[in-house]
Symmetry: C2
Subunit: 190 residues, 2 copies
DNA sequence: TTCATTTTGTGACATTTGTCAAACTGCTAT
DNA sequence: ATAGCAGTTTGACAAATGTCACAAAATGAA
């Protein structure tokens, strides 16, 4: 478990054994079935999750329609930062696409570790930087690229998504209808 | 000048006088004419700017076409975090829309201040959080909303943009052509 | 397996947005 | 004032994507 955490955090900030121990301390483990939720619309998100096994889909519901905002593959941190920071009910749903396992902690408790362990604040800084960069690149893709180009980009940059996620979810992640994605796929293989 | 910096940083993290003094130390002032650039495509961005007067438009060029990614009103920090972090040439252009003034510092120097002044790291953490949240909300707007709804949202949430930026730039910020924006506006006033 | 359910694909047509060319508007510098 | 220019609007048509209805294929539970 702690190796998994280390393999993830090392990408942002190298923590020594003591720091890792402190970081993992507030977390408790849980396992969850396919289609299970770790966060549902309407509650205020005060948790930080660390996905240790499985794939999570995040989605919003607009006019009865599910709009996938992202896919998260273990190992990774996961939360609704907007709901957590604003203390407002989330509009986000976090659902496992397959049986999985995760750690869960009170977000405040983890942030508070930064007081005595500056490298944990550093870690969060780097992690937010990363979120910001990835988010910016996705934004640009919506402006620069058409649906087909966005699909091809996903194909080359995140092949695991194409391989392991139902097309209907990929379509809404790309901002198009499933029929349109189906036609794009048909066009590409020709 | 330091009051302007304080008014901005206070939104993220309250710094005392000493901390503010340290923060401002690496910066030098500059003034700039309308249409002047503080960053141009192709260079590696190693600067952090603090806009003290004026409006900056950020844009990319794709197939000879300018695609506006955002507008920045004084007072605010501004940089290309992606180019800075990756040490790769930026694709971004930062251009003043009117005569303005700004501070400029070596980004590394400012980050280094965090070593001895943890609240400056805190400030950056909060600032990235903010960037992430704003970015996420814009992403969602591209998925949830059509062009007209995005325009109306901009109208209510950032009226200063509507009031002070040429429509052609607003159009590309919304991800549509100027003609389309013109038609949306016509439709709305009816 | 078999059957029911979920997921994906297809056709016909509607809507939204883009493209191009031209006209219009209003500012700004002489 | 006015000539020139940057910015905006309009019309006609094209291309991309959405909508709806249904068929085909894949998946999963008994």
């Amino acid at each position: 478990m702690i190796e998994l955490l280390k393999s993830f955090t090392d990408k942002f900030c190298k923590l020594n054994e003591e720091e890792l121990g402190k970081l993992i301390h507030p977390f408790v483990t849980a396992s969850i079935k396919k289609k299970g939720f770790i966060l549902e619309e309407g509650v205020i998100c005060d948790k930080l999750f660390f996905i240790t096994k499985g794939i999570v889909r995040s989605y919003y519901v607009k006019d009865g329609e599910e709009i996938t905002s992202n896919f998260y593959f273990a190992p990774t941190f996961l939360s609704d930062v907007i709901s957590y920071k604003k203390k407002e009910p989330t509009m986000l749903n976090l659902q496992f696409l397959e049986d999985g396992e995760y750690l869960s902690a009170n977000f405040d408790d983890v942030v508070a570790l930064g007081e005595s362990t500056p490298r944990i604040t550093q870690l969060f800084l780097k992690f937010y930087e990363h979120l910001y960069m990835v988010g910016t690149e996705r934004q640009l893709s919506f402006i620069f690229d058409n649906a087909e180009q966005r699909y091809l980009k996903l194909f080359t940059e995140r092949p695991k998504v194409i391989a392991s996620v139902p097309q209907q979810f990929i379509a809404s992640y790309l901002g198009i209808k499933r029929e349109t994605l189906s036609r794009i796929r048909k066009k590409i293989v020709l």
